[in-house]
């Protein structure tokens, strides 16, 4: 019974959403209602995730487990940010500077570390697999992309180099186009399977 009900809801929402592209004026109120419900559910799940994270840190703090100090720092900063966000609007200069001066450097540092990790991972491919088609093609592709992006060989005075670089620059476009077409076809098939209830990602089988 539950399965049939879920299938009915799924088919109704899917058909209404698709129909909204064709009967926009007629189905718009229902579409907005569906979007509102979806956003509410999405926001609720985010709040539940945040709550579960805070619960974990609270337990670690009160049970004096390892990393209790860091949990205390997280709880304090989260509480401070939450209270500030509830009290102060986004246009507030203090709140804006708080976000910009903390979040931007922290995330930039994490991305810099990520770049180093990816550089190390690219070398680890050779360390683990040696010289094979995958590792060599990966490294050569990376080196070519870096050389092109460096702009060293970009010169209007050398038309041959310009044409070669233009050809090389189009290689990622070809790959990206293939990926996009594949993803579109895959998404279409997955949507049809879900609509026809062959796949049931909403639970049970």
């Amino acid at each position: 019974m539950r399965s049939i009900l879920a299938i009915i809801i799924l088919l109704s929402v899917a058909l209404i959403t698709l129909g909204g592209y064709l009967f926009e004026d007629f189905l718009a109120p229902i579409l907005v209602l569906i979007v509102d419900w979806g956003l509410l559910i999405l926001g609720t799940t985010l709040l539940m995730g945040i709550g579960y994270l805070q619960k974990t840190h609270i337990q670690r703090l009160f049970q004096s487990q390892k990393g209790a100090f860091l949990s205390a720092v997280i709880l304090l900063t989260f509480s401070f940010t939450l209270i500030s966000g509830l009290i102060l609007p986004l246009q507030n200069e203090f709140f804006s500077q708080l976000i910009l001066n903390i979040q931007v450097p922290v995330e930039a540092s994490l991305l810099a570390v990520l770049a180093v990790v990816m550089f190390s991972a690219s070398l680890r491919i050779i360390h683990t697999q040696g010289v094979n088609l995958l590792s060599i093609s990966f490294l050569i592709s990376a080196l070519i992309a870096l050389v092109i992006k460096s702009g060293i060989f970009q010169s209007q005075s050398n038309p041959v180099a310009t044409q070669i670089l233009a050809f090389v620059n189009r290689l990622p476009l070809a790959g990206a186009r293939g990926i996009l077409i594949g993803m579109a076809l895959g998404g279409l098939l997955v949507g049809l399977r879900v609509l026809l209830a062959f796949d049931r990602p909403y639970g049970e089988e």
């Binding site: 909204g20 592209y21 926009e24 004026d25 718009a28 109120p29 579409l31 907005v32 209602l33 979007v35 509102d36 979806g38 956003l39 509410l40 999405l42 926001g43 985010l46 986004l90 246009q91 804006s96 976000i99 910009l100 979040q103 931007v104 922290v106 995330e107 930039a108 994490l110 991305l111 550089f119 690219s122 070398l123 680890r124 050779i126 360390h127 683990t128 697999q129 040696g130 010289v131 490294l139 990376a142 080196l143 870096l146 050389v147 992006k149 460096s150 702009g151 060293i152 970009q154 010169s155 209007q156 005075s157 310009t162 990622p172 476009l173 790959g175 990206a176 186009r177 990926i179 996009l180």
Partner: protein, 580 residues
């Protein structure tokens, strides 16, 4: 004449003597004990010594008085005669019948038996013969041992059996009685060849003629005696031996090799000639070689080399890091890095983008979509600031929608750097935690007005806005794709512009070729082109630092790849050694 023989020392005493004149042993009661009845002598063999070995010293003493014991046939006969004479003296006055020459009847029987039988003297002479033979074997111990090792080598039993044999021979040399009970393996095999069982040998029941063990071994050594197979050998052992010998046959002998071979021995033969030759199969040889190589590898000085390699890597890493940081610092803060030739080539769709943003009306309305994280704010700012500075005019209305939590703050931070931004009308349309939901909601809000997911500060639906363009600022391929697909489908009249990071541009450039997007600007390389628009950005300095960083990264990848390949080879060799 009757006399008393001392049972202790064998000396003759007077018949009336009570103690021995030699050893002063008590002789009382000896008359009755030394007078066996005639019936007893007739009905039984003389087996005094056989019943009690303690009588042997007295008998030997009596025999010594008549002469040495010889080992030849005459000796044996004389031995019998001597023994008979002693017996005659010992029992001379007994009540036994005498012939006309005065010889006792028992002595005559013994002599008759001695003429008929070679070893008629009985167990005494047999024991003496065995003792003498053991003594002779001891003298030939080395010779026999060599023969034993030779036989063992022919049978492929290895040097372990030889050591056991030597141990057994040493025990034989030290304890003759124990040797008589425990014969070595080679002696048992010889007895098998000769058809003599160990029990018969010990009992002495086999016929001892000139064909003795020593003579047989000498004949075997000189080649006069054919080598015969050992009866009763294990069949499986024979098969294994044959299979092993096939390896030898392929290389050494065309006819194959028998279980034993005839080897001519001469006086010049050395110990090396008698060294056992082991038949080793290829698999066994491979294992032996592996063991030898493993031992050599363990003894090699490989560990210090590894430490030296690690130390070298550490130094190289430190030097590389120092060089990297130095070059970047010099290029960033001093402009030390030389300016490379750049063609300022425009990215694809560059002219379309410039033409589109230059035609914005003064009172136009733009939509800004903030779909990038705070970490990419610097890069997005480098890309977007020149274009937005060219596109935005004073008095324009800007609507900002964000699909990232800090999107609006980042956009506002960006707009503060745009010239003439004081009079801008900025509408914060709000934050939607999903690009798909946000794009779909923007498109459909025009019919229903504000709702739960309404854009907060919007008084008009987006579709009702007279948008002159929409700028998508994103660092995510997925977010950019959703925004492009929704907006291009629902608002086809609104031109879309992509201001993205360098990592996203390859995946979003196809939308430009398809016409869904007017123009794309991505990364610092495109922002350098924007510098030609006359904005006051410090692009030359940043561009040189960017180039220096990329060149250093290329060098680091090449050096790291070489070292990684070297370490992979070392690892592979170690793995192969462990596998072997």
């Amino acid at each position: 004449m009757e006399s008393l023989i001392c049972p202790n020392c064998g000396a003759e005493n007077e018949p009336t003597a009570k103690r021995c004149k030699e050893c002063n042993a008590l002789l009382v009661g000896l008359h009755k004990e030394n007078k066996p009845s005639t019936d007893d002598l007739k009905g039984k063999d003389i087996n005094f010594l056989a019943n009690n070995d303690q009588d042997l010293p007295g008998l030997l003493h009596a025999l010594k008085q008549d002469g040495d014991i010889t080992t030849d046939g005459g000796g044996v006969a004389g031995e019998g005669e001597g023994y008979a004479s002693r017996e005659d003296e010992a029992f001379g006055d007994r009540d036994l019948s005498m012939d006309e020459e005065g010889i006792p009847e028992w002595l005559q029987r013994i002599r008759k038996r001695a003429k008929k039988e070679t070893d008629a003297a009985g167990e005494i002479t047999q024991k003496l013969s065995v003792t003498q033979e053991n003594l002779a074997e001891d003298k030939l111990e080395t010779h026999d041992r060599s023969f034993a090792s030779w036989i063992e080598s022919l049978r492929g039993e290895g040097s372990e059996n030889e050591q056991e044999l030597e141990t057994t021979s040493e025990k034989t040399h030290g304890d003759d009685a124990e040797t008589a009970q425990k014969d070595p393996g080679w002696l048992s095999k010889i007895r098998k060849v000769k058809g003599i069982s160990p029990g018969e040998y010990r009992k002495g029941s086999y016929q001892k003629t000139g064909d003795s063990l020593l003579q047989w071994l000498v004949a075997l050594e000189e080649g006069r005696e054919p080598i015969q197979p050992i009866p009763g050998e294990n069949a499986g052992e024979s098969v294994e031996t044959e299979s092993d010998e096939k390896v030898v046959t392929d290389t050494d002998s065309p006819e194959g090799v028998d279980l034993t071979q005839k080897i001519t021995m001469d006086g010049k033969s050395t110990r090396a000639d008698l060294t056992p030759q082991l038949d080793v199969s290829r698999e066994e040889q491979a294992h032996a070689d592996l063991f030898s190589s493993t031992v050599l590898d363990e003894k090699s000085s490989r560990a210090p080399q590894q430490i030296k390699t690690k130390s070298t890597n550490w130094v190289i890493r430190l030097m590389t890091s120092f060089l990297f940081l130095t070059v970047l610092s010099l290029t960033l803060f001093t402009g030390w890095f030389p300016e490379l030739e750049t063609g300022n080539l425009q990215p694809p769709g560059w002219f379309a983008l410039i033409d589109s943003i230059e035609n914005f009306p003064e009172d136009g309305e733009l939509l800004l979509i903030a779909d990038y994280q705070a970490g990419f704010a610097e890069e997005i700012e480098l890309v977007a600031l020149p274009i937005l500075s060219e596109a935005i005019r004073p008095g324009m209305a800007l609507s900002v929608v964000s699909s990232k939590p800090a999107g609006f703050i980042l956009i506002r931070q960006l707009l503060t750097a745009v010239p003439n931004s004081e009079n801008l009308i900025i509408n914060d349309l709000g934050y939607v935690p999903s690009p798909g939901f946000a794009a779909y909601d923007i498109v459909n809000i025009k019919q229903v007005g504000p709702g739960v997911s309404n854009l907060i500060n919007s008084t008009l639906p987006v579709s009702d806005m007279d948008l002159d363009g929409a700028f998508i600022l994103t660092d995510s391929y997925e977010g950019g794709r959703l925004w492009i697909e929704q907006l291009s489908a629902r608002l086809p009249q609104v031109p879309l512009y992509l201001l993205v990071t360098a990592q996203v541009s390859p995946m979003l450039l196809p939308y430009q070729e398809s016409g869904q997007v007017v123009g794309v600007a991505a990364g610092i390389a495109d922002s350098l082109v924007m510098d030609s628009l006359g904005n006051e950005l410090e692009m030359p300095r940043l561009w040189r630092a960017y180039q220096a960083g990329i060149l250093m990264l290329i060098a680091a990848i090449l050096v790291g790849a070489i070292f990684s390949l070297n370490s992979f080879r070392v690892k592979k060799m170690d793995g192969a050694d462990e596998l072997e």
